[in-house]
C-alpha cells in the first residue's frame, strides 16, 4: 500500500522529501519566513514607538525615567543568558550529548521564567502607581503632554514580547520532552533548531526594546 518499506528511510524523513538534508533546509526556510512575519508584527509597534516620541519628545524623556533601569538591565542579562544556553543545547544535541542538551534546555526555561518574574514585579509596581495605558492612567507625577501614551506603548510592546516569551517557553518545554524521549539526535534535531531560532528572535526584539524604553537618555 505504501509502495515502499518504511525501514528504507529514517522515521523522521517525511515522504515528500528526498533526503533529510533537503527536509531540514525546507523547515529552516519556512521558519525564517515565519520570523519575517514576526518582525513585521512587532514592526507596527516600532512605528508607534517612532511616531509618539517624535510628537512629544519631552514627555517621553520624562516618562521613561519612571522605568527601573536596573531591573531592565537584569532582564537583559537574563534573556541573553537564556539565548546562550539555548544555543548550547542545540550544540550539545548536534554532538549527541543528550543529557547535557536536556540540562541546557532546563536552564533556558528557568531563565525565561526568571525574566517573567522580574517583569511581574515591574508591572505590579506600575499598576500600583496607576502608570497605565490610556484611560486607566491615574499617575500625576510626569510633566508633558499625554504621558499615558508612553505607558500605552510600554505595555503594548513589553506585553506582546511577554506573550512571545510564554509561547517560547511552551515550545522549549515540548522540545525538552521530545529530547527526553530520545526522539532528537545529531541525525534529526530540526524541532530544537527551529525553537532556537524563535527564542533568539525573542531575545533580539528585547535587545531593541531595552534601549528604546529604558535608555532614552
Amino acid at each position: 500500500m505504501d509502495g515502499h518499506e518504511h525501514s528504507a528511510h529514517p522515521a523522521h524523513l517525511a515522504h515528500h522529501f528526498s533526503e533529510p538534508a533537503q527536509q531540514a533546509e525546507s523547515a529552516k526556510m519556512g521558519m525564517w519566513l515565519f520570523l519575517l512575519t514576526e518582525v513585521l508584527l512587532f514592526g507596527g509597534l516600532f512605528v508607534a514607538y517612532t511616531v509618539f516620541p517624535a510628537w512629544n519628545p519631552d514627555m517621553f524623556f520624562n516618562a521613561h525615567k519612571h522605568l527601573n533601569v536596573y531591573l531592565g538591565t537584569l532582564n537583559t542579562f537574563v534573556l541573553i543568558s537564556s539565548s546562550v544556553t539555548m544555543a548550547l543545547a542545540i550544540r550539545s544535541i548536534q554532538l549527541d550529548r543528550r543529557d547535557v542538551s536536556i540540562r541546557y534546555l532546563v536552564v533556558t526555561l528557568l531563565l525565561a521564567a526568571a525574566f517573567l518574574v522580574v517583569k511581574y514585579f515591574e508591572y505590579s509596581h506600575k499598576i500600583h502607581l496607576g502608570q497605565l495605558p490610556g484611560k486607566f492612567y491615574t499617575f500625576t507625577g510626569i510633566e508633558g503632554t499625554n504621558p499615558h501614551v508612553f505607558f500605552s506603548v510600554y505595555f503594548a510592546m513589553t506585553g506582546l514580547h511577554g506573550v512571545h516569551v510564554l509561547a517560547g517557553m511552551s515550545v522549549i518545554g515540548w522540545v525538552l520532552m521530545r529530547t527526553r524521549r530520545g526522539e532528537l539526535s545529531s541525525e534529526y534535531y530540526t524541532p530544537m533548531e527551529m525553537t532556537g531560532l524563535y527564542w533568539h528572535l525573542v531575545d533580539m526584539i528585547w535587545i531593541f526594546l531595552f534601549p528604546l524604553l529604558y535608555l532614552i537618555g
Binding site: 514592526g43 537583559t76 542579562f77 533568539h200 535587545i207 528604546l212 535608555l215
Partner: protein, 142 residues
Amino acid sequence: MHMSQQNKTNTPHVLPLQVYLGTAAALFVLTVVTVMVSFVDLGGWNIVVALAVASVKAAAVGLIFMHLWFDRKVFLVIFLAGIVFLTIFIGLTMLDTMRRGDIYQISADPIHKNAAMYDTTAVTTDTIPAAADSTHSAANEK
C-alpha cells in the same frame, strides 16, 4: 544546495564552544557599555548610541546564535528583507506625520459629526442606554 546534498544525511555544522562563549561575553560587555552610556547626557545622541549598540548585539545574535553567517545566504536575505520593509514602514510614516503643514497651512478643525452614528435624534431612548445617550448629545451640542 549542492554542498548539503553531497551527503545524504543531515550532518550538523558544529561551532566550537569558544565561539558561543566569546559571543556571550561580547553581548554582556555591550549591555554594560550601553547602560553606562545612558547615564551620560549626550542629548539626542543617547538614543543613537543606544540603538547602534543594540544593532551590533542583534547582529551577533543573528549571525552566530542563529547561524545566519554559516547557513545558506537566502535565510539572511529573508531576514534583511524584513528589516528593509520595516525601515520603509517607519520612514514613510515619519515623512507623513512630521511634515504636515509644510506645503500649505493646516490647522485643527472640530470634527464634523455628519455620520449616522452621531445622529442621536434618529435613535429612540429605549434602544440606547441612558448614559451613552447623554454623552452623545452633550458632545453634539458643543
